[in-house]
């Protein structure tokens, strides 16, 4: 267990250091949601009815959740690159704790996710987002974002080892996550969608997490959303972390 912790720290450090050397990826994943936020607020904002809320207040939690789900892309791309370059073979030939490569990767994502949440929230505050929440609720919202993002990093970890190239990781990831985040309450009220979509949007875990964020930060009625959101994050983690580690143990490399 001590080995797992030190090895995980070594890998986390490695991934954070290398991000500072090649910051383009992180910048891309930080600038893109800011662009989304601005486009949605100023292009679509006027046309979308969000009864009871200012659209900025409605949108920001949604964009934050979408953004955090994509944070794991850094893991998918990085792992795939490591696999192709033979680094995973090297790691697997070392006497290190088996899950440490993935645990270190996903932990590094938490830091980059925190950074992009900060940038996005900062932009939101500048254009007029305002909290309607207690201090505890605000902290709870941050915690939820990071936990959900961490769980999703494991989904991307698995993806990164299943696909044959970083390009494929990109396309598959976008194809899978993009519709999931759009057919949810992230950008528009679910009630405005046609029947089948509405049905899907209501059971979509993204909706639950977005609603939880809204109840934590802008005072929407919570229902079971907050607990539900944490439970969903845990379910994702419990399913995908073992799958990813199993896949890592078997990864053939090259």
């Amino acid at each position: 267990m001590r080995r797992l912790i030190t090895d995980t720290m070594v890998i986390t450090e490695r991934n954070l250091v290398r991000l500072t050397r090649a910051p383009d990826l992180v910048i891309a994943f930080t600038v893109q949601p800011v662009m989304f936020l601005l486009l949605f607020v100023y292009v679509f904002g006027g046309a979308i009815q969000t009864p009871g809320y200012d659209y900025k207040d409605f949108l920001l939690p949604g964009i934050l959740v979408q953004n955090i789900a994509f944070g794991g892309f850094v893991t998918a791309l990085g792992l795939n690159e490591d696999l192709k370059k033979g680094l995973i073979d090297r790691f697997r030939s070392l006497p290190m704790a088996r899950p440490a490569v993935l645990a270190g990767r996903t932990l590094a994502d938490v830091f980059t996710n925190a950074l992009s949440v900060g940038v996005l929230l900062g932009t939101g505050l500048i254009i007029g987002f305002s909290f309607h929440a207690s201090f505890i609720e605000i902290v709870g919202g941050f915690a939820l974002l990071l936990v959900f993002g961490y769980a999703f990093s494991w989904v991307f970890a698995l993806l990164g080892m299943l696909v044959t190239s970083p390009e494929a990781a990109n396309s598959v990831g976008f194809l899978a996550v993009f519709p999931l985040t759009f057919i949810s309450s992230a950008f528009v009220p679910v009630d405005s969608m046609p029947g089948a979509l509405k049905w899907f949007a209501e059971i979509n875990p993204f909706t639950i997490v977005v609603n939880a964020m809204r109840s934590l930060w802008v005072g929407a009625p919570a229902g079971n959303n907050v607990w539900g959101a944490f439970v969903w994050s845990l379910v994702i983690l419990v399913i995908f972390a073992p799958l990813a580690v199993l896949r890592y143990r078997r990864s053939a490399g090259g």
Binding site: R3, K85, L87, D89, G254
Partner: protein, 338 residues
């Protein structure tokens, strides 16, 4: 005697003195319907180099991957440094180093950072890993590049860093999977010298290569592998002897009649000589006085000779005879894995 003791001690971990550092019995491995290994046996004595030679897809990389604990065999057994590659895999990883076909380094980290990372993953403290890293950088002439990201390194520098990574824990057994593929001649030579120095220090090396000159220079013994089986094994000289005797090569003077030369030399060989653009070749069965006899016969037939000499078979000849194929060029960089 003391040096022998030291060698066996390094190959160590309870293996009895004189026991092979690597011992492989009946190894098989299939990927789907493809039988990559079909009963491979190998023995490598401590402090020696075994060259694993074979065409692409022969199973070389699969052998290395199994011995480096990256892959489990379907059947058969393998011991490295006295440890079973499956049952004792976790323990064995302390005693092996692996340098692969690609330089497995993190290009965004500096040379030193790469080595420190690997050292810490071997369980060293940060300080100890740094000391070891500096040592290796000095040894591989990477000191000046120590604090530059590895993406700025040349191909030769990357391979050296990769090899340094494999040596962080001073492993008694080293696996080198086509270590010089894609390197320029100068870098190749430098890497060969490094490998020779390691072996002189008692490291046991399993080397796969497509370059026959590399195997000839580095390997104490060579195993030729094809279709997942070892089809020949021995020292480079033994293998060359198996191909047959020496070959006489006669370079005729300009305008000389090669037909006449063939007729003159035919009695010297069991097979008929060949002629190609003024170069006549024939196999001779290791008789002494061959050159004198050849000169006398050609002289009597009045055939002008520019140059003539005996050539031992090369490993290329060995390879061609054993597998019926020439070695593929290494530019054709298709590695033999699933």
């Amino acid at each position: 005697m003391t040096s022998t003791m030291q060698v066996t001690d390094r190959a160590g971990s309870g293996a009895p003195p004189g026991a092979p550092a690597i011992s492989v019995r009946g190894l098989t491995k299939s990927f789907g319907k493809v039988r990559a290994l079909d009963g491979v046996d190998l023995d490598i004595a401590p402090g020696t180099v075994l060259g694993l030679l074979g065409p692409n897809g022969a199973g070389k990389t699969t052998v290395v991957r199994i011995l480096a604990t990256l892959l489990k065999p379907d059947a058969g057994s393998a011991e490295v440094a006295g440890l079973d590659v499956v049952a004792d895999a976790a323990k064995l990883r302390h005693s092996i180093g692996l340098a692969g076909q690609y330089a497995a380094i993190d290009e965004n980290l500096t040379g030193l950072e790469n080595l420190v990372m690997v050292g810490r993953l071997y369980g060293m403290s940060r300080a100890k890993a740094k000391v070891r890293g500096r040592e290796l950088l000095a040894r591989f002439e990477l000191e000046e590049a120590a604090d530059r990201p590895a993406k700025t390194y040349s191909g030769g520098m990357r391979r050296r860093l990769d090899l340094a990574d494999a040596l962080v824990a001073k492993p008694p057994v080293l696996f080198l999977d086509e270590p010089t593929t894609g390197l320029d001649p100068r870098s190749r030579l430098a890497l060969w010298e490094t490998i020779e120095a390691l072996v002189a220090d008692g490291t046991t090396v399993l080397l796969t290569t497509q370059y026959l000159d590399e195997a000839d220079r580095l390997a104490d013994r060579i195993a030729v592998i094809d279709h997942g089986r070892v089809i020949a094994e021995g020292t480079p000289d033994e293998l060359k002897d198996r191909v047959g005797g020496e070959r006489l090569e006669v370079r005729l003077s300009e305008g000389a009649d090669s037909g006449a030369a063939i007729r003159a030399l035919t009695p010297m060989s069991d097979e008929s000589p060949t002629a190609e653009e003024g170069l006549v070749r024939l196999f001779v069965r290791g008789r002494s006085g061959t050159i004198v006899e050849a000169v006398r016969r050609l002289d009597e037939a009045g055939i002008g000779v520019e140059d003539l000499g005996l050539r031992r078979p090369t490993l290329d000849d060995v390879f061609l005879t054993l597998t019926g194929r020439a070695v593929e060029s290494a530019d054709d960089d298709e590695e033999d894995k699933p």
